[in-house]
């Protein structure tokens, strides 16, 4: 959980190829949620099942997909 990793848009965050385990991903999402709230000053909730619905056939969730989802709930 405290490991520093370098990421790009294709880096898998969850699922196939991700370096985060399930709890690591949940923690990551919780922290991102908090930072996004501070950044956009809007009360948002990241809902994992909504992300899954956006990409039903993808074996993993990468940085690009996750950021698109974040943009959709903050815009």
């Amino acid at each position: 959980m405290d490991e520093r990793v370098t990421i790009d848009l294709e880096t898998p965050l969850f699922g196939e190829g991700s370096t985060l385990d399930s709890m690591g991903f949940v923690t990551f999402v919780t922290e991102v949620e908090e930072r996004v709230i501070e950044l956009v000053n809007k009360d948002i909730f990241i809902v994992l099942s909504d992300i899954e619905e956006l990409y039903p056939n993808e074996p993993s969730l990468n940085v690009s997909m996750f950021s698109s989802y974040l943009q959709s709930i903050t815009s």
Binding site: M1, S22, M23, V26, T27, T30, E31, D43, F45
Partner: protein, 234 residues
């Protein structure tokens, strides 16, 4: 026990109120909640009005609590529906769902949100209150006892998920407790209940607090996913 910040659900009456008062008396900071206004006026107590069966309310509430208190040490899931049930054949789906929502869904939502904070802070104690009813298999408790038993299983699974992060999750399963709710069922019901237990007296909320205290303290650091019954059944 060193002073802690303790969240107690359903703290406006009954067992929850007794737990909140006890932990305030013993020098802790207590955060309570219920659907109605709080009944405690104490400098170290704050009451939030929240329906813990409602996902968005719970998420908003936990976020607010985190903003207000930064670190939460202990969460006691006490909220639940206490009323006489019917035989399975006479239990409406609506009634069944009410029990599931108020007992199981509320525990799931509150544990889910607070466990995420506790994993990040790398410390926390989740304590879920169930009931001896989970062992008695009494006719007329198909909804209540099933929901409480599901809380036991849920707690054990959650305990395995968070154990590596310094967070424990345990269950307290008290025998008959004397509260307003239990006395409303009448003396006959109380006598029948006691007949089914090995402990032939009703316990009081303060006695339950001693068990919560154990699971909240460093003395229980190595205990997780466990159910503490106050007695056996006959």
């Amino acid at each position: 026990m060193k002073p802690r910040t303790i969240v107690i659900t359903g703290s406006s009456r009954g067992l929850g109120l007794g737990i909140a008062e006890y932990f305030l008396r013993t020098g802790n900071t207590v955060i309570g909640c219920s659907r109605s206004a709080g009944a405690i006026n104490h400098p170290n107590y704050r009451h939030y009005i929240v329906d813990v069966c409602d996902e968005s309310q719970v998420r908003g509430w936990v976020r607010q609590v985190k903003k207000d208190y930064k670190k939460i040490d202990v969460v006691v899931n006490n909220v639940g529906l206490v009323k006489l049930g019917a035989l399975t054949g006479g239990t409406s789906l609506e009634m069944f769902k009410q029990f599931m929502d108020s007992i199981l869904v509320s525990t799931f939502l509150v544990c889910r949100e607070f466990s995420k904070l506790m994993v990040i802070q790398k410390f926390g104690r989740l304590i879920n209150i169930t009931s001896i009813m989970t062992e008695l298999h009494v006719p007329g408790t198909c909804a209540y006892a099933s929901a409480k038993k599901a809380v036991v299983e849920f707690s054990k699974i959650l305990a395995t998920e968070i154990v590596d992060y310094g967070v424990t999750c345990n269950v307290i399963s008290p025998s008959l407790i004397s509260t307003e709710a239990s006395s409303a069922f009448g003396r006959e019901w109380e006598r029948e209940m006691l007949d089914m237990q090995t402990l032939k007296i009703a316990i009081n909320p303060e006695q339950v607090c001693h068990l919560i205290e154990f699971f909240s303290s460093a003395k229980s650091d190595i205990v997780t996913g466990q159910v503490l019954h106050t007695c056996l059944v006959n």
